[in-house]
Amino acid sequence: MVEADEVLDTSGLSCPMPVLKAKKAMEKLSPGKVLKIIATDRGSVGDIPAWAKNNGYELIDRGEENGKFIFYVKKPE
């Protein structure tokens, strides 16, 4: 199980808000730390991995919890 250093809950928000909020959260995060992103927007299934790849962040795990989409994104060292 991946340990998250910070959690960002974007439940209820639609495109493009999950990635915009995630960007702000990642900027505050220290290198090497992991952000857990929770989303209900179905677009986020493809959006978060694409967003992470473009930023050079590592998507270390993903899944679903209680019908919500979960992503673990690591900021590079």
Partner: protein, 159 residues
């Protein structure tokens, strides 16, 4: 980031000033900025309304000649006074319900993330719009100035 990778670049010509047409360029611009892309928006013709301080809080969507409205309105009814205001109100309510940010919020987020805004100088001259009428822009450009910026973009769109 310290690495020397060139950022991806998105350039959009924003040519329409209706509420529905204002969303796609601003959503794409803010999203691209959040993906660490360099983003340039060139507002021309009615697209200038989106960054016009006097107009951008009252962008509208018209039901007339618009068969795609969620509740189709026959053109003869769409012509009646108040129908555009009603369609606009319905759309704003729909976006709010879907937790989609307002145009104003999207503009602010774009600016915060470093999206570059340009006004089309020719449109401004023809329509009598001055730079003071606009929200702060990075520059007012002509076609050649825009093309110079767009020439090495990874994604170029006209909306």
């Amino acid at each position: 980031m310290a690495e020397e990778k060139k950022k991806k670049k998105l350039c959009i010509i924003v040519s329409k000033g209706t509420l529905d047409a204002a969303y796609p360029p601003l959503i794409l611009a803010s999203t691209a900025a959040s993906m660490d892309w360099e983003v340039h928006l060139f507002f021309t013709f009615y697209g200038l309304d989106i960054i016009n301080k006097k107009k951008n809080k009252s962008l509208k969507v018209a039901p007339i000649a618009n068969p795609a409205m969620p509740m189709p309105v026959p053109n003869i009814i769409g012509m009646l006074p108040g129908m555009t205001a009603m369609a606009t109100m319905m759309m704003k309510r729909m976006m709010k319900k879907g937790n989609v940010p307002s145009i104003e919020e999207l503009i602010n987020m774009c600016r915060e993330m470093g999206v570059r805004f340009y006004g089309c100088q020719m449109t401004m001259d023809v329509m009598g719009i001055s730079e003071e009428d606009l929200i702060p822009v990075d520059a007012c450009l002509g076609a050649a100035g825009y093309l110079d910026i767009a020439s090495d973009a990874d994604v170029n769109l006209f909306i």
